[in-house]
């Protein structure tokens, strides 16, 4: 009796112990589940709303009379990922027959409307669009293509994605994912123990890793956590979290999250997540336009985006893609014929130069900085904004080409200093201040130091127009006024002596304002600037758009002012826009994820400088191109394309600048070395060739501003500034003056004089200096 009593007590103690253990385990289990559950749920729900901002270029507007060839148009279409096809019946396709193009334009949600898909027929003749019609044959006055995706603003951890909603996902994709990665997806509860077994066997039999045992849910969980340790504990945690996820959310949600989350490739610093972005990244087109062989490739990449990178390891990628197709056929997702046909197609990925979603880092940088004024970082990287910008991708490419070609040419020059140069190009639309192209360095698509925004360099003679504008605005000077191109010595506050010199070390004596500016004479500019007042010149810099007036040293007159190319572009934009200051903008519109418009910098114009003074200055800047330091450009530009501009060279040839404009484009170019070493180039020999090459290659208009009402043209002598007649001498030119301005009449050739001796170019007796000046001037 005692023994059974003791054993019963023992048993009960064991039972109790066991129960306590069980209870403890249960509690522990609950806590673990609760903790993991909380973690995964907050990840899942949190991640659903982490949507980087998508950034688009300026959409191309189409209209009759537009300067556009069939060739260029189809190029644009291809850049947008449109496919040439005989049928041309789906959005994203086109067909070209000679001068006629039929295109199915994609639907797109612009900031002002959801533009539906539309069918257009365009006819081109002589480099212009001659007709634009819709599917019914009616004329369309203006039509808009969908814009080019140029990037995203993604968070610092580098993940980038284009979120696709279930309606934007081709039904084939989830089917294919299930077939290849997780056959029992619809049935399991988060983990599939049988699948693990099956995968083990299959892989052993095949001798290679063909199938994974993880479910899609497990893969999703794994991808939420950057930690890629494959410890047993981690696997266990993931399994538990997968189960919890399945318990809390439905299959459709999980599949959609997977499609938007899974890591599918690397683009430099940018990690490509989700099939939406992967489709753009590999094929340059939206997910819903992919064909069977393309979808299969993406599914194949899931297993190992670097191992199966179709650009770096095309053979492996092809093999796995066709394996995927086989699996799809086996499981009756597609027919055998479809699979076979698809297996015969090439990979179809776009070249690595323009990976769908072209890459313009310098411009994107500007976009980001401008947006940061109105938006917090989290808004930009997580709130799913869509940003519409001012970038013209075609012009951007032309600018990149022009810069690259010229710098390469310099690499081959005899002067070693001109090798290995860096460069910047900024292009704006003067009337609106829109930045339409920006290059931050020689390797335009490298996301490094953005010289366009951050490289501050002395602007040299680019400062001179500011000085002359100040003089004209003061009312005390006209383009024909005389200034002294004579040596000047200044004692600076520190006690040192400043004694500037002309480029050729000569003093020309009394010269006209127009000659001084056209030939970029230093001495004349300094004397003029001192007379007008340093404070007024500094103020003019600010008026033109510089945020902070430069320090009022005399050397400011010769451009000892460090500015970035975009600062220069802002200043010259005002000069190119009749004195109206328009803040440079890269962003046109921003909408939230529901398509509602948000804050964006708005088009703004303010009369900052006198219209008459700017007009007179601009006419002189035209002369810079006609007969001054910019004249070598004229050879490569059509005669009718009137342009204006200014060269700039800093001390010891360290910086070579050119800023010049047509009627519709302002282009600023800087060329130099990052380490500030001399380049042996002037503005004329360094930056100007880049500018000219670009200006000659774009569709632009002549610079023809209207003369202000209270001004009139009068003929004056270039050297003496006296009023003369156009038929007298080659040195007479027409310049604008305020109506009623007093001009000294020329001594021998009066307005209205008829020339008597036609063989003699010069009618008036030339002052001795004039002959000397002319001789010097004619030297290149």
């Amino acid at each position: 009796m005692a023994r059974s009593k003791r054993s019963r007590a023992t048993r009960r103690r064991w039972q109790r112990g066991f129960a306590i253990l069980l209870l403890l385990l249960l509690i522990a289990g609950t806590v673990i589940v609760a903790v993991l559950g909380h973690r995964i749920t907050s990840q899942f729900e949190g991640r659903r709303w982490t949507l980087p901002a998508r950034v688009y270029a300026q959409p191309l507007d189409l209209y009759v009379g537009q300067s556009l060839s069939a060739e260029r148009f189809t190029e644009e279409l291809r850049r947008l990922g449109y496919l040439a096809s005989e049928a041309a019946d789906r959005p994203g396709t086109y067909r070209r027959k000679g001068g006629r193009v039929d295109v199915q334009v994609r639907e797109f949600r612009f900031s002002d409307e959801l533009q539906p898909a539309q069918s257009l027929r365009l006819d081109f003749k002589g480099g212009r669009m001659s007709s634009l019609r819709d599917a019914q044959g009616s004329d369309v006055p203006v039509a808009r293509l969908d814009p080019l995706l140029i990037g995203s603003i993604f968070p610092t951890h580098g993940e980038d994605r284009i979120v696709v909603s279930p309606s934007e996902v081709p039904p084939l994709l989830p089917e294919a994912l299930k077939a290849v990665e997780d056959r029992k997806f619809d049935q399991h509860f988060g983990v599939d123990p049988l699948a693990i077994m099956r995968a083990l066997f299959a892989n052993i039999r095949a001798g290679q890793v063909e199938q994974g045992g993880s479910t899609l849910t497990q893969q999703l969980v794994k991808s939420y956590f950057l930690d890629s340790r494959r410890t047993l504990r981690r696997k266990a945690e993931e399994a538990v979290m997968a189960i919890i996820l399945e318990a809390r959310f439905d299959k459709a949600d999980i599949m959609n999250a997977y499609i938007n989350e899974i890591y599918l490739g690397q683009d430099g610093r940018r990690a490509v997540h989700g099939f939406g972005l992967a489709s753009q990244f590999y094929f340059g087109k939206p997910l819903n336009e992919l064909d069977l062989h393309e979808v299969s490739l993406l599914v194949a990449i899931v297993r190992g985006p670097s191992y199966y990178d179709p650009r770096r390891h095309p053979e492996r990628a092809l093999e796995r893609r066709n394996l995927v197709l086989r699996l799809l056929a086996e499981q009756r997702v597609v027919s055998d014929e479809q699979a076979e046909a698809a297996a015969g197609r090439p990979l179809g990925v776009t070249g690595s130069v323009r990976r769908g979603g072209s890459f313009f880092p310098a411009f994107l940088d500007l976009v980001r900085r401008q947006l940061r004024r109105d938006y917090r970082e989290e808004d930009l990287t997580e709130a799913g904004l869509t940003v519409f910008t001012t970038l013209d991708p075609l012009l951007q490419e032309k600018a990149e080409a022009a810069l690259a070609a010229e710098l390469k040419r310099q690499d081959g020059s005899k002067r070693e200093e001109a090798h290995g140069l860096e460069g910047v190009v900024v292009v704006t639309s003067p009337q609106t201040g829109e930045v339409i192209a920006m290059i931050g360095g020689r390797l335009a698509s490298m996301d490094g130091f953005n010289r366009a925004l951050d490289a501050r360099r002395p602007i040299g003679s680019l400062a001179k127009p500011v000085v002359y504008l100040t003089a004209l605005e003061s009312g005390a000077f006209t383009p024909a006024s005389i200034v002294q191109d004579e040596p000047v010595q200044l004692k600076l506050p520190g006690g040192q002596l400043w004694e500037p010199n002309n480029f050729d070390r000569r003093a020309n004596g009394p010269v006209t304002i127009v000659e001084a500016l056209t030939r970029s004479l230093n001495l004349a500019t300094v004397n003029l600037g001192l007379e007008v007042g340093l404070d007024r010149v500094a103020q003019t810099f600010e008026d033109l758009g510089l945020e902070e007036a430069p320090p009022e040293y005399p050397s400011m007159l010769l451009g000892a002012v460090d500015l970035s190319p975009i600062d220069v572009a802002q200043i010259y934009n005002t000069l190119a826009n009749g004195g109206f200051r328009s803040p440079l903008r890269a962003v046109r519109a921003v909408v939230d994820e529901d398509g509602q418009p948000l804050r964006a910098p708005e088009l703004e114009v303010t009369q900052a400088a006198s219209a008459e003074a700017v007009y007179a200055l601009d006419r002189m800047l035209i002369e810079v191109m006609e007969r001054g330091t910019g004249r070598t450009a004229r050879r490569q530009l059509p005669d009718s394309l009137v342009v204006a501009g200014k060269t700039g060279t800093s001390n010891d040839y360290r910086d070579s600048w050119f800023a010049g404009f047509s009627g519709t484009h302002l282009i600023v170019v800087w060329v130099g070395h990052d380490d500030n070493s001399p380049t042996a180039l002037t503005g004329t020999t360094g930056a100007l060739p880049v500018w000219t090459k670009l200006m000659a290659s774009i569709d632009t208009s002549a610079f023809e501003p209207l003369m202000p009402e209270d001004m009139e043209d009068r003929w004056v002598d270039y050297y003496t500034g006296r009023e003369t007649s156009p038929i007298c001498a080659g040195s007479a030119l027409s310049l604008p003056f305020m109506i009623g301005a007093r001009l000294e009449a020329s001594e021998s050739c009066l307005p209205g004089d008829a020339v008597e001796d036609e063989t003699d170019q010069l009618l008036q007796p030339s002052p001795p200096d004039a002959v000397e000046r002319r001789r010097r001037y004619k030297q290149p």
Partner: protein, 193 residues
């Protein structure tokens, strides 16, 4: 002011002041894209006959005047034909006006910016944009854009009159009544409604 200008013109004409064209007279510049200063590209615009009342007459007066009417004042430069919009810009302006009526001001802004990309130098577009700015409550910008339109339409009385009216409205809305009156007066001088 007008008399003074007339005298100056007369003096200059007498002096045989030569070419008034500011640029090289060789080849007429081909107006591509949206270059031409507010003039419609392509077709040669017709000078509309504007019904201007003869100075000194009231509506209803008999046209048979006894005293000779003063000659229409010659201008220093040929009067520019009234600016017109390209069909594409016109369509976008129509769209913008419809959007404004519906209260979709951001949408109207997009439409007008598209038009400005096509014709950045057309003063009519700047006047439209200025009107939109009025709707948006941005009165200083409305005036600025009116002034920009003025600069782009020198010699084109009708467009200048519209620009002055816009400027006047903007000034009036800010309570600057004397300046507003001046602006409206200039509009009336240029193109009596």
């Amino acid at each position: 002011m007008r008399v003074l200008r007339c005298l100056l013109v007369g003096v200059l004409l007498l002096n045989g002041a030569c070419s008034i064209q500011p640029f090289k007279p060789e080849s007429p510049v081909a107006a591509t894209g949206g270059a031409a200063q507010g003039r419609a590209a392509g077709s040669a615009p017709e000078l509309e006959s504007v019904k201007e009342p003869v100075p000194g007459m009231l509506p209803g007066d008999d046209l048979q005047i006894l005293a000779p009417a003063p000659m229409p004042l010659p201008r220093e430069r040929p009067a520019a034909p009234p600016a017109t919009l390209k069909p594409a810009s016109q369509a976008l302006v129509n769209q913008a006006q419809a959007q404004r009526r519906k209260g979709d001001l951001p949408g109207a802004n997009v439409s007008l910016e598209r038009a400005l990309r096509i014709e950045p130098n057309n003063p009519l577009l700047w006047i439209e944009m200025g009107r939109l700015r009025m709707d948006q409550g941005n009165l200083p910008q409305a005036e600025s854009m009116g002034r920009k339109a003025l600069a782009m339409s020198v010699g084109d009385d009708r467009t200048q009159a519209e620009a002055w009216r816009l400027i006047g409205e903007s000034l009036k809305a800010r309570g600057k009544n004397p300046q507003a009156e001046e602006a409206f007066e200039r509009a009336r001088e240029l193109a009596p409604l």
